[in-house]
Symmetry: D2
Subunit: 355 residues, 4 copies
Amino acid sequence: MSNLPSKAHFGSDNVTGIAPEIMAALEAANNGGVASYGEDAMTEGLNARFSDLFETTCRVMPVGTGSIANGLALAAVTPPWGEIFCHEEAHITIDEANGPEFFTGGAKLHLMAGEQGRITADALRAAATRYSRDDVHHPLASAVSITQATETGTLYSLDQVGAIGDVAKAEGLAFHMDGARFANAVAALGCAPGDLTWRAGVDLLSFGATKNGCMAVEGIVLFNPSAERVGRLARLHKRAGQLYSKMRFFSAQLEAYISNDNWLNWAGHANAQAARLSAGLADIPGVSLDSPVEANEVFCRLPQASYDAIVAAGIGTYPLSDKGDGTGSIRFVCSFNTEAEDVDRLIAAAREGAS
Amino acid sequence: MSNLPSKAHFGSDNVTGIAPEIMAALEAANNGGVASYGEDAMTEGLNARFSDLFETTCRVMPVGTGSIANGLALAAVTPPWGEIFCHEEAHITIDEANGPEFFTGGAKLHLMAGEQGRITADALRAAATRYSRDDVHHPLASAVSITQATETGTLYSLDQVGAIGDVAKAEGLAFHMDGARFANAVAALGCAPGDLTWRAGVDLLSFGATKNGCMAVEGIVLFNPSAERVGRLARLHKRAGQLYSKMRFFSAQLEAYISNDNWLNWAGHANAQAARLSAGLADIPGVSLDSPVEANEVFCRLPQASYDAIVAAGIGTYPLSDKGDGTGSIRFVCSFNTEAEDVDRLIAAAREGAS
Amino acid sequence: MSNLPSKAHFGSDNVTGIAPEIMAALEAANNGGVASYGEDAMTEGLNARFSDLFETTCRVMPVGTGSIANGLALAAVTPPWGEIFCHEEAHITIDEANGPEFFTGGAKLHLMAGEQGRITADALRAAATRYSRDDVHHPLASAVSITQATETGTLYSLDQVGAIGDVAKAEGLAFHMDGARFANAVAALGCAPGDLTWRAGVDLLSFGATKNGCMAVEGIVLFNPSAERVGRLARLHKRAGQLYSKMRFFSAQLEAYISNDNWLNWAGHANAQAARLSAGLADIPGVSLDSPVEANEVFCRLPQASYDAIVAAGIGTYPLSDKGDGTGSIRFVCSFNTEAEDVDRLIAAAREGAS
Amino acid sequence: MSNLPSKAHFGSDNVTGIAPEIMAALEAANNGGVASYGEDAMTEGLNARFSDLFETTCRVMPVGTGSIANGLALAAVTPPWGEIFCHEEAHITIDEANGPEFFTGGAKLHLMAGEQGRITADALRAAATRYSRDDVHHPLASAVSITQATETGTLYSLDQVGAIGDVAKAEGLAFHMDGARFANAVAALGCAPGDLTWRAGVDLLSFGATKNGCMAVEGIVLFNPSAERVGRLARLHKRAGQLYSKMRFFSAQLEAYISNDNWLNWAGHANAQAARLSAGLADIPGVSLDSPVEANEVFCRLPQASYDAIVAAGIGTYPLSDKGDGTGSIRFVCSFNTEAEDVDRLIAAAREGAS
């Protein structure tokens, strides 16, 4: 894959760099002689900052990647003989190289179909009640994990999250939210982050930051933090090699990320560019959307010629997934620093290729 | 633990910040639109850079912490029914919260005594040949891991490493080196990095960088990289959540770290400060060294009053480990940015307290 | 559940006792002073006996349960980042309490739909080629496991097994057969055991014996036994606590089981009783089969009143699975010692209840 | 290793057969049509029988081998980040192929020296208090495991067990007893089984039966059975493939084993033969004991010629472990059916060889 000198890359929200505010936070944190291994003031203060942000007492543990956040969150609430319900296209089952099985010590992922990347409360209830909880032959229904925003760029509404939370509570399941793009969801829904999580029944959130301007940090947010669960998560976190000695550089990123509504502003910008892009693509002949655009990703079908024109225009993108009929599927992702003019260039190239 | 505004902290080489050259490298890497997930040019070029540095074809995989580097390196060469020989004070058994057992899927660490933090080739041979390799009742001797520089601040000489390498080869063990302070060892020995590793029989090196000026990165260096071992390590690496999406920020740190002999200059500076410190402490009544000072750490015994004076002088330090007779044990660590005047202040305070 | 003095129990093929030939073999093996831990002559001779039976060089390792046989067989051929393809109703995913995940160190089971309990070669090909084998993000397609006879009492034909074997070979998958009721399959198909296994591409077979007259033993049969795979399986076997010290009592059971075509005669008898049962139920109003009866199990739908009559007649059975419309689903299993008159009594009771 | 037609084998207490009372119990249990999977009356009654035997409410779970009993017992009480204290010659670390690490999901065994195969309460206290329980860097002290009778044929006195129990309680450790030869210990000490276990602080006992006349069964005995611990053990038991479908054959063995004081009578006989043997060997020149003989094993040093004479006499034995000076070490084990005349033959041969 070529390296682009510009920010014009729509393949992933990971290929962009770090937001200036985050770089500045790293530099500010780079003073000498504070305690190592998470005992610095910034890391200690992060719990208070996140409790304010979510309007409830919670704990946050920085980790290096979303995969680790997911694996550890699930391990905190799932025994090795447990079962975790998730969508069949969930990142945790497709893209984490059996990470959840690794971190939990062998729990099973129970995959569920669902339109537009969402599982439903009814389907969850049926799946979770399939086995008696007392029958040791079967996996023990332990947790449900949903991705918000989903892997297909859609959103669960507050009611949909709450409905799943109700089932989780009724069936004794822990409720995990993979929030790699949580910021985009909150920005799109315009709700309070607490509304989308603990008030809707969520127990643990993988709070994504890397895709939205940070360097390499995600937070595991634990709501209703019992001493038992906090202790368990701390043990799992250390064992997974996540107790960074210079933890303040991770905490500093998270602190700057949630300051001044940076996270929401950046995500909102990304969402807006995705809306701009999907609107622009909408009336190009031969182009169609594969999924509703509800956050910062556009999944669409393009003529091969449109794709070729986009590449020729020097716009970074992932490969087209050939459908064998002269068209292919592709995902365009907009980021905190995607520029409108690059969106327009992409649209223009697509239009040109389609004509 | 108090936060110090100065760099005067001798508790750990993790409490210092990031070297300016590394911060600059992060900023330089922060341009927009390169491929994510390790496919960028810098990450691809890192193998060549490390091959030059070690004067042999090798592969390097960036990870977030030394614990992960150790765990994955050992997992690459040890089956779940395997046994790993190491010193009884090894970081991998004391401070990694059963990380090696986790990453390997249940391998056993076989602890060995050894003076001054070093295991000997003879002791290794005896331990590794205790069981028949064909008897499935017993763990299978699979790997040996030594720490260079050791956990007590000493060094294995080139000959000592080579002797262990000879035993490893003869007994069919993989040879791992935990090089959290590898730079300090190379700087102190004044040898080529290849002499201390692959030429002496080392198969995998946890190449430390975080303690010596980087933010949060270590490299797993694989010598004699067979396709099978490279593939296995890649799978383990991803499963452990180490395939960072913005990998270039990790690669950029490593690239800057090994450029211009930065790593050796910084480590050499740290070693020199430790030598200065131990020389200064040497003639203070009531102060004695617990271990030879061969790299950047000083393990010593202090009168309580000396410790109190050091703390009162505003110098950062870990707690004194009380011996119950008015003295205690303590470790002082010097870093890439430890200033000589702070070393002298520490010495002066210790002397004052002892008088 | 009540204890019946008679053999009239159709709930499972596990509830019957041990065949007299097997008890006799245990008694014969009970002489004093042979070597322990599998080194006795009988255990050593078992490889030759099974090689004769399957008409190819193979290795057999006795284990205590089918779950362990499945878990260890899969662990021998699947890395922790691997994926195992199986039917969504497979015993390995429904009834083994995450045993496969445990024994493999975290491999994932990829569930596939399929009519009448069978997966198809085409569906397997599609599933196994979904991901690139070189992309570490995704689980590595490693193995396929089919159950013969299936969990719904049906059979794969020789051609169907062979077709799956062809796909497995083409896609680099190991091919495991869960043969808890392998005897019933071979008896029903009237083929050579080698035709149904290695000649059709099967690499490992969980050779069931407990359900067909033995006390507690299954054999893991390894075809094309490479030294590497034999060694790996031996290590896994011991680690799982399966190296029984008095191994000859397990070997003696297997030896008697395959002697004089006992296994086939007993299974053939069980199949014949199931055929008798399904024929007798076929013309009872309100009774219908849920699945074709191809081996020794009858899955059917019964009126509640028929079920009640069966129970009242003192015939052992599992509970009826209530469909909410006055009928329910149930499984009747026939065993090596099921008596025709008990089959007839069951039919008569069912008929009486339905009138 | 040759097969002997007689019972004259002193290599292991596993090489003998099954006691007639146990075979009879298997035959009696072999009636048709009882429920499978542990739901039969005998299995359900076993808890009551063991509660009577130990004079306290306890639960017993049959398993196939001592290794599985140990692994599951430890897994019930040890998290993956936990540490288990045991003797450096403990079976769980030497002979179980990393079974404890497997069943616990990666716990660490902390090996301790101790004379005559016994760890001391003082050494345990020091080891268990080495780390702060709140420091996540270090393994969490979770359990202590002692073997009774020990691997060197000695015994812990009731006071010694109680002292360890006191430390375990004070330091928050679960207390496991590997009782592969528990019967020999109880017979030798002449105490109540409850005195040697729960009254002395033991939480879980691997209750050995295979070495003392049974075919292949051990019991995990759980004292003070909380619902949480019972449930956890049941899940681990099933996942390890130990929920035998014809469980009654395992339960029947245990039931017959503890009936009529069989277990104690048989163990007492074995102990007496060992005493006879050691007394006979004691005055043979060149023969010395390596360990006190307190149960049913004799560890001694023999001249090579004595060993040769023993073998020539047709007495089964393990190989001599050559000391390089014309002598070697060897273990002789006496069993429930060792005949005094065979003991005398062994002594005579040893004496002959030594002259």
